[in-house]
């Protein structure tokens, strides 16, 4: 936390909006993902039932989270999985580092994991003189280009085929330029196979951790996840503490929601269920399995009955795909690990409002995210709550940096608005005055921003109040 460069959202937005190629890539990719989801959930009644079930399962898990986490630890330990607790990302990074040092591993092969992004693990290991090798194809592409993921599920979604071809040609030695997807995939495979074979430690994320059985569930499509978790001698899984669910029978609805929402698949190519290291007599599998459970502000979210709903998230990314803001500015503009609607509510809670509160303003509250969320997180309501906390009128803010936007000018504007709308007399004077001034209303402040791409709103000479009164509509 806190070691990213200064965050200038406006600058990021301006840059993204000016990048025609980026916007074309995003629109095309989002249309495909939206279509695939629609196709995989053709029956809306069934989908709504499933979403309710998903919401209920995750709610039930959050309600008894401390107990489930303890149970998970007990059962994992019983299975031979070593459990580590990390209060913050620095602690999580140190745990991974210690494991690598103990095994004298110069590099770690990584399956896709957003928590490892949250930890900024790659940069941390680099600073320690160690190497993190991304093995998910999208992650591999952007790592070559020294970028971070721009999407939770499809990290290189902002790149098109031609751009990937150029990156491979430039960054992988002795690689002839090709735009053929099969060939590009084969190149990545050739590079990565060697890294899998040589790695002593592999890392993965966790989609669901089942408390009842001590099982770590991981979905993926490329097989790289299975390689990372089975080929090296040591497997380290990292997860946010909200990933725990109560029992095995909770898995099917959640899995259906996750893969359907994320990639429009009924099921992913690989569903890994990891329940122990290699047992005696077995010929393959890691000799050690570690589970790192990260808090990083999640306990604080859990403590608030409304913000707690942020932790329902199963990281499917469908809110990004359906967001009219994300599709125009892309993930990098959000300046933090988690972009899109979920990022707008997650990031300010993790980083504090002062640093990331601006993200809560980047929503028209159109409701598209809340409509598709597979676990029914009321994202627009939580965005609105963060806006309230930014001004913290009654001193009840729970998010760090609450009240950071308090200022006299804006308070006076809204106080004036309130008075005008409570007093029929003032209200009447206001609309009449605006009607008389018409086009002479000075284009300053909000109106200046409005008229950059629009004509001024035309205030009527005679308001509806006056018309109704003059044309004989009943008053009270």
């Amino acid at each position: 936390m806190g070691n990213h460069t200064r965050f200038d959202f406006e600058h990021n937005v301006t840059g993204a909006l000016a990048d025609d190629q980026l916007r074309k890539n995003l629109r095309k990719a989002m249309d495909i993902l939206v279509d695939k989801r629609r196709t995989v959930f053709p029956d809306s009644e069934y989908l709504e039932q499933l979403r309710s079930a998903g919401n209920a399962i995750k709610r039930r898990a959050l309600k008894q989270l401390p107990r489930l986490l303890e149970q998970l630890e007990v059962n994992c330990t019983k299975n031979g999985i070593q459990v580590h607790w990390a209060e913050d990302t620095a602690e999580a990074n140190r745990i991974v580092l210690d494991i690598m040092r103990r095994h004298e591993a110069p590099a770690i092969v990584k399956g896709k994991s957003m928590v490892s992004e949250e930890m900024h693990l790659n940069r941390f290991l680099d600073e320690q003189g160690l190497e993190a090798v991304e093995t998910d194809l999208g992650e591999f592409i952007i790592q070559l280009n020294h970028e971070t993921p721009s999407h939770i599920i499809v990290p290189a979604i902002h790149k098109n085929k031609d751009e990937v071809a150029a990156i491979f040609h430039d960054k992988i030695p002795d690689t002839p330029y090709t735009e053929d997807v099969e060939e590009l995939t084969a190149i990545a495979r050739r590079v990565l196979r060697k890294r899998f074979a040589a790695a002593k430690v592999g890392l993965s994320g966790v989609n669901f951790a089942i408390a009842e059985t001590g099982t770590l569930l991981l979905v993926e499509n490329e097989g790289n996840g299975r390689m990372c978790t089975t080929v090296p001698e040591v497997h380290v899984a990292v997860m946010g503490l909200e990933k725990v669910i109560e029992k095995l029978s909770d898995v099917p609805p959640l899995l259906r929601l996750l893969t359907g929402s994320a990639t429009g698949q009924v099921i992913t190519t690989y569903v890994n269920m990891i329940s122990s290291p290699r047992k005696s007599g077995e010929k393959d599998g890691p000799k050690e399995v570690h589970l790192v459970i990260l808090d990083n502000g999640r306990s604080r979210m859990l403590a608030d009955p409304e913000f707690r709903q942020t932790l329902l998230c199963i990281r499917c990314g469908t809110c990004l795909n359906h967001c009219p803001v994300y599709v125009r500015i892309g993930g990098h503009a959000y300046g933090h690990v988690y972009p899109g609607p979920i990022g707008k509510i997650l990031t300010p809670q993790m980083e504090g409002l002062e640093r990331a509160g601006v993200l809560a303003t980047a929503s028209s509250l159109c409701g598209a995210c809340g409509e598709v969320c597979p676990v029914r997180i009321p994202i627009p309501d939580l965005i609105r709550r963060l806006r309230n906390e930014s001004y913290d009128q009654d001193g009840s803010a729970v998010v760090e940096g609450g009240g950071y936007k308090k200022n006299l000018a804006e308070t006076l504007v809204w106080k004036g608005w309130e008075l005008a709308n409570r007093s029929p007399l003032l209200n009447g004077i206001g609309t009449r005055l605006a009607g008389k001034l018409g086009k002479r209303i000075p284009r300053v402040g909000p109106l200046k921003k409005w008229t950059r791409v629009r004509t001024s709103p035309k205030v009527a000479r005679c308001s509806l109040h006056e018309r109704a009164r003059n044309e004989g509509v009943n008053n009270e």
Partner: protein, 251 residues
């Protein structure tokens, strides 16, 4: 069509004009009132009404929002249905007032108020079961769905059902009908660049339909879209559904 039972099937109804319609679209407001009256109901327009409170509610100024909302609850005191010519204001009054007043002495009043709220086209189509006779010339139009009419009030089917009663009107739908136009109240001025990109795409979508008029049920969207069309020199008219239907049936 699914029919909502009005709490008061008497001939008395309230009309909530919305602050935007009051200031910028009074013709649409009068048309909305006249169309209701033409169905034989008596419309009351309380002169002390103002704004639903949503601008402040969505901007972090919840106290001011509550004060203004409370005023409306007091003003619309009789048990008449409250008809609102905006999916957004109706959504605020129907779905957000209960939250806004939760735990306050006005909670019960807020609930009773919310239960009486109808979006204008919803009331015409479902409770009054209006029959429209088109008297206009053949015309091709397109329709813009406001996000809150679509997702909070779920009344788009009623608005479109009314349009489809007009025999000389061809409705060409937008390619991305469910995508926000970029208005979002204060969003348009707090994130002007993103909002501008959104409305630009919306105008392009509208233009591609070949329609000469875009009809919408929300004045906020309408102000955003027509403002952008005029600025860009696009010669397509924008009209609120109420004004459009009134003109078509009384032309």
């Amino acid at each position: 069509m699914e029919k909502r039972v009005s709490p008061d099937q008497s001939d008395q109804i309230y009309f909530f004009g919305t602050c935007l319609m009051d200031a910028a679209y009074p013709d649409a407001g009068m048309a909305a009132i006249r169309l209701l009256e033409a169905q034989g109901v008596e419309v009351t327009f309380p002169q002390d009404q103002s704004c639903c409170g949503q601008p402040a509610y969505n901007s972090g100024f919840i106290r001011e929002a509550r004060a203004v909302a409370r005023k409306q609850i007091r003003v619309f005191a009789k048990p008449y249905p409250i008809i609102v010519p905006s999916g957004s204001c109706a959504g605020m009054m129907k779905h957000h007032y209960p939250d806004l007043f939760a735990g306050t002495p006005d909670e019960a009043d807020a609930h009773r108020f919310s239960e009486r709220v109808y979006e204008w086209s919803e009331y015409l189509a479902t409770v009054l079961e209006v029959k429209l006779e088109d008297r206009g010339d053949p015309l091709t139009i397109t329709w813009h769905s406001s996000c809150h009419a679509l997702r909070e009030m779920d009344v788009i089917r009623y608005s479109k059902a009314l349009i489809r009663q007009l025999k000389n009107v061809t409705l060409v739908e937008l390619e991305r009908e469910t995508e926000c136009c970029g208005f979002g109240g204060t969003f348009a001025v707090k994130q002007p660049a993103i909002s501008a990109a959104m409305v630009k795409d919306k105008v392009a979508d509208i233009t591609r339909t070949g329609a000469s008029t875009v009809v919408a049920g929300d004045c906020g969207c309408l102000m955003n879209i027509t403002g952008a069309m005029q600025h860009a020199g696009v010669a397509i008219a924008g009209k609120h559904l109420a004004e459009f239907l009134w003109e078509r049936t009384n032309g």
